[in-house]
Symmetry: C2
Subunit: 285 residues, 2 copies
C-alpha cells in the first residue's frame, strides 16, 4: 500500500482517493468532500519542483502571481510585506550562492524573495510625524512574516494552476546580510523565504511527498497528538521507500530531521538570525 502510493501521477489521478493515497500512503480514508472540486484537487496534488525549464515565463504571469498573493488575507489589512522578483542570471547566481548553492535557484527563470516589510508604514509614520513604536515589537515582525508567507503560498498555488512549479528557499535566511545587500533592503525589511518559479522540467518529474498521518498533527479541543512513537516508525518506513523510489539517498525521516536540528552548526548560518535581524532594525522587543 505504502510502496505504491508515490507512484501515482497527480496529473492523471482524477480521484481524491488516489491523491489521499499518495499523500498518506493509505490509512485514514474519509468520505469524499461534499463538493469535490479542482481547487482541492490542485492543493492535494502539490509537490515541490526542483528541476526547471529555464525558459522565461509568459508575459503577465508575474502580475497574476502577485494578484493572487495580494488576495491572501493580511493582518488588520496592514499589508506588511513586499516581494522582489529576480530574473537577472547573475543576481540569481549570487542568491544561489548565499542560499546553500542549490542549482535550481540558477535554473528557475524567476526567483521571488518574500519580505516582511515594516519600512512602508515606518515611512508613512515619518511623513505624518507620528510615533510607530509598536513596530519595534516582536509581534509586529511576526505579523510581517505571517503576511509574507500567506502571500507567498497564494502565489505558489496560483503558479501551480498555471502549469508552473515552485520550491521554497528557507536557505535565503542562511546569510541575511548578504541577501539584504544584494536586494538593497532598507531597515525594517527582511527576507523571510525565497521561491523558485518556472515550468517543471518534464524529464525530471517531482513526486507527491508523503506526510505524517493526520493523527500526528491534528488534535481535538486540546493538544494531544496520538502516540508519536508508533506513527513515526511507520512514517520512517514510508519515507524510506519514497526516497528509494526517487533514487535519493535513503534515510529515516526521524534521524534526518533530528540531524537537521542537532546544533547551531547544522543551521548553516541561521543560528545568527537574531544578530542579522538587529542589523536590519527588525523589531524583536
Amino acid at each position: 500500500m505504502t510502496k505504491a502510493a508515490h507512484r501515482i501521477d497527480p496529473d492523471t489521478a482524477h480521484g481524491f482517493h488516489d491523491l489521499w493515497q499518495a499523500r498518506y500512503g493509505g490509512g485514514l480514508s474519509p468520505s469524499p468532500p461534499a463538493a469535490p472540486n479542482p481547487v482541492l484537487q490542485s492543493l492535494l496534488a502539490h509537490r515541490s519542483v526542483r528541476a526547471f525549464d529555464p525558459a522565461p515565463l509568459e508575459e503577465g504571469t508575474l502580475e497574476w502571481l502577485i494578484a493572487a498573493a495580494q488576495s491572501a488575507p493580511s493582518s488588520s489589512n496592514l499589508q506588511t510585506w513586499s516581494v522582489v522578483a529576480v530574473e537577472d542570471a547573475e543576481r540569481k547566481a549570487r542568491l544561489a550562492e548565499f542560499a546553500g548553492n542549490q542549482g535550481h535557484v540558477r535554473e528557475a527563470p524567476l526567483v521571488l524573495v518574500w519580505l516582511a516589510d515594516l519600512a512602508r508604514l515606518r515611512g508613512l509614520a515619518q511623513q505624518a510625524q507620528v510615533p510607530i513604536e509598536g513596530a519595534d515589537y516582536l509581534d509586529s515582525s511576526l505579523m510581517g512574516v505571517i503576511d509574507a508567507v500567506l502571500a507567498a503560498q497564494n502565489a505558489v498555488i496560483a503558479a501551480q494552476s498555471l502549469g508552473l512549479g515552485t520550491v521554497y528557499l528557507g536557505a535565503i535566511r542562511n546569510h541575511p546580510e548578504r541577501v539584504a545587500a544584494e536586494l538593497g533592503l532598507p531597515p525594517g525589511v527582511f527576507a523571510v523565504v525565497g521561491l523558485c518559479v518556472g515550468r517543471p522540467d518534464v524529464s525530471r518529474p517531482a513526486a507527491v511527498k508523503p506526510r505524517l498521518p493526520q493523527s500526528a498533527v491534528l488534535s481535538r479541543e486540546r493538544y494531544s497528538p496520538s502516540q508519536t512513537q508508533g506513527h513515526v516508525r511507520n512514517y520512517d518506513a514510508t519515507m524510506q521507500s519514497f526516497y528509494a523510489s526517487q533514487g535519493m539517498p535513503v534515510a529515516r525521516w526521524s534521524e534526518h530531521s533530528l540531524a537537521r536540528l542537532r546544533g547551531p552548526e547544522q543551521l548553516k548560518g541561521r543560528h545568527r538570525l537574531v544578530e542579522a535581524l538587529q542589523a536590519q532594525r527588525i523589531g524583536l522587543r
Copy 2:
C-alpha cells in the same frame, strides 16, 4: 471606477478582469493568464468572512482541510506544526474572550488554532537521546511559524472551495499564556494564528477588499517600491469608499494603520510576546 470595484460579486464575476477590478479598483490590467482556471479565480475571489451560520460542518470536512494543510510545503519536511480543532461552545467562548472578544469566534462552528510545534521533534530527540540544540534558535521557531502559516493558508483555500468562509485571528496572540493553558500546549508549542471556519451567513455577505497597487509591494531585481505617497493617497480614497459601501466607520487606511502600531498599548497584549514565548520554551536565541 474605484467606487464600482467593490460592488462586484465574486461569486458571479466570471471574468478575471472583474476580479482584478474588485481587488485593485482598476489600474493595471495585464493580459489574462495563458490558462485562466478555477484555482486562480478562487484565489482572486477570496474575502474574509466574519458572519457565520453556526450549523456544524459536514462530516469529513475537517479531514479534507487537514489533508490540504499537510499538502503545503514544509521546511526540510520537518513538519514543525500542529493544529487544534475546537468545536466546543464553551471553549470557543473562552478563546473569543482571549482574542479580543470577536463575536465570530463564538459563531463559527469550527475554530482551528495553528501551532508552531518543536515539541514533536524534541520528544523524538529525547527518546533517541540525541541533542537538539538547533531547536533553541529563533530561526527554528520561525520555521515552525512558517510551516504553520503555509498549512493554514492551504486550509483557507480548501475551505473556500468547499463553500466555507474563514477569517484569521491574529488576536489569538493577545494572551498567549491563557491560550496555551486552554489548549494544553506543552513547552515548544505556541499558537501562531487562529482561524474561524463555517458556512458564510448569506444575509451578511463579505466583500472583496481592495489592496495597495502592485507597484507598492512588487519590485524588480532590487527593493524599490514606487512612490509611496502617491499610491497611499489613492488607496486611502479607495478604502474610504469601500468602508462607506460596507456601512463600516469610514477611516483613512494610512491613519488606521499607523494608529494600530502607535505604541505598545495598541498591541492589546502582544507587546508581551517575547515573555510569553520564553515561558513556553520557544527558541529565541
